[in-house]
Each structure stands twice: as C-alpha cells, then as structure tokens.
Symmetry: C2
Subunit: 203 residues, 2 copies
C-alpha cells in the first residue's frame, strides 16, 4: 500500500510558502509520497486565532525576514520579483478558487496553485482580479470555464473556510506547514528534517 500523502498548507502571500512549494513535491516523491496542497489564510490563523502581528509589522523580525528569504532564494537559485510587504496582496480570490478546484476539479488544483505562486513571487504580479486568475489558469492548463465557475460559485467561500477550519483543528498555523502520518512540521526550514523523517520513518 502506498504510504499516506504529505499534507502541505500555504498562503499565497507567504514567500516561505512559495519557496517550500518549489521543493515539496520532489522531496515527497523521493519517498514515494504524494502531496496534498491546501490553501491556508495566515490572516485568520496568525492574526485572528493566535493574536499575533503580521511579520512585516513586527519590529526586528521585519528587518530579518527579507534578508533570510533572499538568502534562501540565492541558495536554491530562485529569483523573487516581489518584495515582502507589510500590506500584501489580497489572497482571498486565489485561495477561494483553489478551494473550489480542490472540491470540484481536483486534478487542476495543484497546477493552478503553482501558477498563482509563480505569478505572485516569480513575476511580482497580483492575482486578485478575474483576468489575473484566468492568466494563471492559462499557464496551468485549467479551462477558463472552471475559473469562471469558481469565481461565481456560491460555495467557494464556504469551501475555503472549511479548509482553514480543518487546518486549525489539526493545529496548523503558519505557511508553510506540513503534516505527514500525523506528525506536524512548521516552516520552510523544516524541509530537510521532513526529508530525514520520511527516510528514517520517524524517530
């Protein structure tokens, strides 16, 4: 029996989530694992549930974070064309569309999410308006009609809320966050540890 998937949560506004998204599928595949990509809203988990401030509104951390992200990007040969802002893009339209695709056209969910991440962080664009969502759909081979259905769907918001509530119920709070076989890993810094965990079957 194929072992269970790596569950991967991220917010499109999170550069750490983007950096993790570039590595997690290859990493998991080396251990015979699939990856389930789940939208998360750190505005709900970090700000509302945890009662913390946005990273970029936090003294000291706001100076450290861009430096750490740039260093990580250099290490992995990734070019970031978007600065880490205190007031980020509104992630809701893309996250709602992803939640809807996961429920109604799951084969398109991950390619679409990759395209959104790429548009936001590799190209420095926003993915908020219909034409921006459609551009991501085009890049990922997702039919326009699906995105228009997701935008118009009355259940997209509820599906996203359900994803976020389920995540919170599992103890997920940040981006990226991983759970494999019930074991939680928070942060892009944990990818090497997760790799080791999968190789050793835990410890």
């Amino acid at each position: 029996m194929r072992p269970g998937p790596v569950e991967f949560w991220f917010d499109f506004i999170s550069p750490y989530g983007y950096l993790a998204s570039l590595r997690i599928d290859d990493l998991a595949a080396r251990h015979g694992r699939d990856v389930q990509w789940h939208p998360l809203l750190v505005g709900v988990t970090v700000l509302r549930v945890m009662g913390l401030k946005p990273l970029m509104d936090t003294p000291l951390k706001k100076d450290y974070v861009p430096r750490e992200i740039a260093r990580y990007a250099r290490r992995h040969g990734v070019t970031l064309r978007r600065a880490v802002h205190a007031r980020p893009m509104n992630p809701l339209p893309a996250a709602r569309a992803l939640a809807w695709l996961r429920a109604h056209a799951p084969a398109h969910a991950k390619p679409f999410a990759r395209a959104v991440f790429h548009a936001v962080w590799a190209e420095g664009g926003d993915v908020v308006e219909r034409d921006e969502l459609l551009a991501c759909a085009a890049h990922s081979g997702t039919p326009d009609a699906l995105i228009d259905q997701a935008i118009a769907a009355s259940d997209a918001g509820a599906l996203l809320r359900a994803e976020v509530q389920q995540a919170i119920g599992l103890g997920v709070f940040g981006s990226p966050f991983f759970i494999v076989d019930g074991e939680p890993f928070f942060g892009v810094d944990k990818l090497e540890l997760l790799d080791e965990w999968l190789a050793r079957g835990g410890w």
Copy 2:
C-alpha cells in the same frame, strides 16, 4: 588570521536555546571558529520590543512547540527533564551573573552558562537563588567567590542591559540567534544552514 567568532545569543528559559547550546561549539570548531555566548532576555525582545506573546500563551503554537522540542531532543539523544511552561523560571539572576562573568572573568562565562543550561533543562531545576547559582559554579569550576561578587555587583544589571541593548541594535530577537561575519541566523533549525554557510563561506 583566525576568522571571526560565531556570536550566539540565548535565553536560559529557552529550550531551543539549550538545544542549540549543545551543538554550536562543535559545529563552529569544525570551521575553525570560536563561539561567543551572549545572554539575551526574550522577555525584553519578544514581549516588549516585538510586542508578541510568550510562545506558550499563543494558541496553536503552544501545542506545537512541545512536540517539536521533544522530536528534536529525540533526534539528538537529549533528555529534557523540564516541561516548556507558560510561566518559566526567572532568568535574570543567572543572566546577570553571566553578563558579569563575561565582563570580569570571561574564561568562566561559557562553562558557567553551560552549567546553568544543564541544571535547568537536563536536570529540571531552577537557577534563581544563590545556592542554585553556586551549584552551577561548582559544576563549571567557577570559584564561589566570583558568583558572590556577581550577585553583589552593582554593575551586573547594567552589564546585562547593555548586552541586551547591543543585541537589539544588531537585530537579534530570539533564542537561539547567531551572527557570523555579519550574517544573522535565527532558530535552532538554522544550525545545518549555518554549518553550510561556514563551509561554503556564504553564498
């Protein structure tokens, strides 16, 4: 010329700081680097300057952190005999003594700090009262007279404040925190990255 040291900041109440303290000197030595151990007070940096809550008062994170720490301890064969509490030991007496030793008897600073960390996290004791500080001195070969001087010294508090202010000026905020050749690394998760940084001479 010997390359500059790794600067290492920690709070005695931080289990992540303790876990890092067990590895940092060997890691740095492999790259021909010394390590300077600096007391930090996360009650000042995290709570006052950053305006955040204690980890163990933060929803979701308070459930994750003990699990992550236990997993890390298992990975490195470390036995922790102290739970991570929302209301930790008062770190001030030990931190003041360490600041005083750094200024007046620097050869004793690191052995004393190791003994404090061991008493707190490997033995589960408090290091707050004179007899507890003296027990750490005994374990580290620090003369009792030095600890009594540190306790009585009028400048110990000022020396500690100066350490913490200098750290904040350098952008240091958490425990553990490392700076090498001007490059900052936050968190015990960064030890492998720091190792790679030192091996490659940066990137």
